[in-house]
């Protein structure tokens, strides 16, 4: 039990997916203009990463590993993720239209979010079992949600500020992300 909690905290805070592993940077920089938008994207990512790591883990343990096809993991996982995003999208559209309308446009973007594939591959590398994989996926996704919402909030505050012309746009966002990354170093003091 203690081990499982440590996996979640490590994935969410200590080894934050965006700020220290640098996965999912494209959407982190691109979709963090407004807090609500960032929340929508983060919510969709939490959903997809958790399901994708569960499916990928089952698939690896019961199909790829017994047939000694472990070397096909990259190809199989990316196809499963792409298919899964489609299925999740159709499921939401049919049964939870309100959630679909909120997340709608962000779902297709997630296929190319490298955090999803990265978590699935990391779970295989670390040799996690099913439950550990799901928890690691959930922790990673929560870390992503926290980071993107915080960055969006900082960017909203920066909008009215005056700074050098050449730092407009991406450079300013990167500076904000760097400061957040320094702040997240504080979590490495957690004694677990």
């Amino acid at each position: 039990m203690q081990g499982l909690i440590i996996i979640i905290i490590t994935a969410a805070l200590l080894d934050n997916v965006v700020l220290s592993q640098f996965l999912g940077i494209c959407s982190f920089l691109g979709v963090s203009t407004k807090t609500e938008v960032a929340l929508g994207m983060g919510g969709a990512v939490v959903f997809v990463i958790t399901i994708a790591s569960a499916v990928a883990s089952l698939l690896y343990d019961f199909v790829l590993a017994p047939l000694s096809l472990g070397y096909l993991d990259t190809i199989v996982f990316i196809l499963v993720i792409a298919a899964l995003v489609q299925v999740v999208e159709m499921f939401f559209k049919k049964s939870i239209p309100s959630l679909y309308n909120a997340l709608g446009i962000y779902l297709p973007l997630i296929t190319t979010n490298c955090a999803v594939l990265g978590v699935a591959l990391n779970n295989v590398t670390y040799g996690y079992n099913f439950i550990e994989s799901v928890l690691c996926g959930l922790g990673t996704a929560v870390g992503y949600l926290v980071a993107i919402v915080m960055l969006a909030a900082i960017r909203e505050r920066c909008e009215g500020c005056e700074y050098l012309e050449s730092f407009k746009g991406v450079p300013m966002v990167c500076i904000c992300a760097a400061l957040m990354s320094i702040a997240f170093f504080g979590f490495s003091g957690l004694n677990i």
Binding site: T74, L79, F167, G169, C174, A178, S181, I182
Partner: protein, 219 residues
């Protein structure tokens, strides 16, 4: 910066390296840019493997552009790219085990690098194999150069080394800024380099405008 060449092959390569540099101008495919630029040798390894995948996948996609049905083109591209990435992954594991260890999960993640799918969608499925090959070479070299610049800044200022060779030793005068090789340093160096590029482009655009005005006045 906005120079054009007569030869379409060379012009496409120049386009990838300077005019539409994936990292500094288009700002896509940023995950490896931030993650593997701790040392210059990692950056070169990542840059060259991405270049190889990019050239091969661009050529195959351009060759198959009339055969792949429009509705399923994305999954088809992903399978083609994933195949080359897996081949590249095995080759690196066999021949450069040290590099393979230090790049880790970022090699299989070349599959979801936005540059590769982006070029497939924006260039290779509309152009000939010959030009798509040039586009792959240009974009790949542009990406490698960007990685090399960022990693050189980080490694020289952050660790006092370049390609693992010590350049200077810490003294009272200047000690390596260790934070640059840690994760915040990646964001900081990238921010400063893109800002410098913006400034340079601003100045050169202004100069071109003045030159054009001057030419009109003289005529």
């Amino acid at each position: 910066m906005n120079k054009h060449f007569e030869n379409p092959f060379i012009d496409t390569i120049y386009n990838g390296i300077v005019r539409e540099n994936p990292t500094f101008v288009m700002v896509i495919g940023m995950c490896p840019v931030l993650a593997v630029t701790t040392t210059a040798s990692n950056a070169i390894g990542m840059g060259l493997s991405t270049t190889a995948v990019l050239i091969l996948s661009n050529m195959i996609i351009a060759a198959l552009r009339h055969i792949i049905p429009d509705g399923v083109r994305m999954p088809a591209y992903i399978v083609i790219v994933a195949t080359f990435v897996t081949v590249c992954d095995f080759l690196m594991e066999a021949y450069t085990p040290e590099l393979y260890q230090s790049l880790g999960v970022y090699i299989p993640l070349i599959v979801v690098n936005c540059i590769i799918l982006g070029r497939a969608e924006a260039y290779a499925n509309k152009n000939t194999v010959y030009l798509s090959c040039a586009d792959g070479i240009g974009m790949g070299i542009g990406f490698t150069i960007a990685l090399l610049i960022i990693s050189s800044v980080r490694e020289i200022l952050g660790a006092g080394e370049w390609f693992g060779n010590p350049i200077y030793t810490a003294s009272d005068f200047f000690a390596p800024i260790e934070i640059l090789i840690k994760s915040p340093g990646a964001f900081l160096v990238l921010a400063v380099l893109i800002a410098a590029k913006n400034k340079w482009k601003w100045v050169s655009d202004k100069k071109m405008e003045e030159d054009a005005k001057k030419a009109i006045r003289e005529s």
